[in-house]
């Protein structure tokens, strides 16, 4: 058994590896020529390497592995692409579908609500147009109701008028839109809750009144003044300072309000 020192074996391997400098290489070759054992070891090592390399270079990467890596080798996606593709992968399909479903239902719901709203507004608009439910270019407050309902209501409320309590309550308006009035008295409030109506007619008495800014309207031979307090929107005042204001879900025209005022006034008279 030959014993080589580690340096000799290292040089032998480095020589075969091509890692020696030209000087070391020349020196090693000279030594090999002088040392038969080293020469034999070199030959053995050379043969061993060839066989070893041939034996161990056999396995190649499976085709599937190459395919997977090639697929994986797509260009690096942008954040947007990553986001979108994540949502498109099967694993994420369920939440995607859930979100899509929620979205579709939301769209449907919004569409229904919007459509209903549109239909209602059209109806009101048509109703207003048909029944002349404007006063001073503005529709009455959020009151709805048909012409027949108004007539019915007038008939309905008439018996109550006689029994209407006189609240007798001093009602002072401060900073209100009733600009022309210094003080008013609430005479009566008539409530109407029937057949879908939910309205009230407030009757005021202005203690001191001037209608310098109110619009003067003549109806049925009587002079009325119309003001807007921002809430009732339309208040019809008689010349003697009694105001009628309607609020609720009943839309009436000025004509009807005048009629109503007349009816109520007759009750008082």
């Amino acid at each position: 058994m030959n014993t080589f020192n580690p340096q000799d074996m290292e040089r032998l391997h480095a020589y075969l590896d091509g890692e020696l400098s030209p000087q070391d290489r020349a020196a090693f070759e000279a030594k090999v020529q002088q040392d038969a054992n080293l020469s034999a070891a070199l030959a053995r090592e050379r043969q061993f390497r060839a066989s070893f390399r041939a034996r161990l270079r056999q396995p190649h990467a499976p085709v599937l592995l190459q395919a997977v890596v090639q697929v994986n080798a797509s260009p690096t996606p942008t954040r947007w692409q990553t986001f979108l593709s994540w949502w498109l992968t099967p694993k994420a399909m369920r939440p995607s579908m859930v979100l899509a479903g929620v979205f579709l239902w939301s769209v449907l719901l919004v569409g229904v609500v919007w459509g209903t709203s549109l239909r209602t507004s059209v109806t009101i608009q048509q109703f207003i147009s048909k029944h002349e439910l404007y006063f001073e270019g503005k529709p009455s407050l959020d009151m709805t109701g048909s012409h027949e309902e108004v007539n019915d209501w007038i008939a309905y409320q008439a018996p109550f008028d006689a029994k209407a309590p006189d609240l007798g309550k001093e009602w002072r308006v401060e900073g209100a839109r009733l600009d022309d009035l210094l003080e008013t008295r609430m005479i009566d409030i008539l409530y109407f809750k029937d057949s879908g109506l939910d309205a009230s007619l407030s009757i005021f008495e202005a203690k001191e009144y001037t209608f310098s800014e109110g619009k003067q309207v003549t109806y049925g031979g009587n002079v009325y003044y119309v003001t807007d307090d921002g809430w009732h929107r339309t208040i019809v005042w008689t010349a003697d300072g009694v105001g009628y204001a309607l609020v609720g879900n009943l839309v009436i025209s000025s004509e009807e309000l005048f009629s109503m005022a007349a009816v109520v006034r007759n009750q008082f008279e």
């Binding site: 058994m1 014993t3 070891a41 066989s51 190649h60 592995l65 997977v68 260009p75 593709s85 099967p90």
Partner: protein
């Protein structure tokens, strides 16, 4: 078998799921987003070509390090995945082979550590060793040993030394490349590699002799 690795079923399944997801991801990406994706740059193209050209070597090395074809396949996929997603850290013009094999080396080391696979103790320090002189030049004793025995002999080497021998003798890595893969000082590669080789050859020679090989 010492150092024999048994593939972990749950890990394999997880890896397969992961890879399937990656494939689906990329297939969908390719199918649906090709209109939006910017063309690969020359650097990316060269990178992928380099990766694909090293696939055989990576697979071979992983297989000899792990002794399990399926596990080696999974690991190379993992290495490829890491390489692709970490290609920004690869400096343009640098040597690709040491870079990608260092990823493999870390992956293998992680695997050993996670599975508590012990390594044979063998000093990396150079020492005097004996070379059998009854090995004929004319007859190759390596022909007498089976592939499994070569694997066994490789298993007798510590992980890093085994990897160094494989890189040098099978894949033809230079000392500088080996030093970069294993993070060894360049000057120590020659001595450590020489020692590993001698240990391997002595073990193979021993196997050949046990099977009746003689002059």
């Amino acid at each position: 078998m010492k150092g024999r690795i048994k593939s972990d079923k749950s890990r394999k399944e997880r890896d397969i799921c992961h890879l399937r997801r990656v494939c689906e991801f990329n297939i969908i990406l390719g199918m649906n987003l090709s209109l939006f994706s910017s063309p690969a740059t020359d650097h990316q193209h060269d990178f992928m070509q380099s990766l694909l050209s090293e696939l055989d070597a990576l697979y071979r090395t992983a297989r000899y390090m792990l002794h399990d074809a399926a596990l080696a396949e999974d690991m190379v996929q993992e290495v490829a995945y890491k390489a692709i997603h970490g290609q920004n850290t690869f400096r343009k013009g640098a040597n690709f082979r040491p870079w990608v094999f260092s990823i493999l080396r870390h992956a293998v080391a992680d695997h050993y550590r996670q599975h508590h696979i012990s390594q044979p103790a063998l000093s990396l320090e150079a020492q005097e060793f004996e070379i059998p002189d009854d090995v004929s030049v004319e007859r190759d004793y390596l022909e007498q040993v089976l592939d499994e025995e070569i694997i066994l002999a490789l298993n007798e080497l510590p992980e890093e030394m085994r990897l160094a021998v494989l890189l040098a003798d099978v894949e033809g890595f230079s000392y500088e490349e080996i030093a970069r893969v294993l993070n060894w000082p360049k000057g120590s590669v020659m001595s450590r590699l020489s020692r590993g080789r001698q240990k391997l050859r002595a073990q193979l020679h021993h196997y050949a002799k046990c099977k009746g090989y003689s002059l």
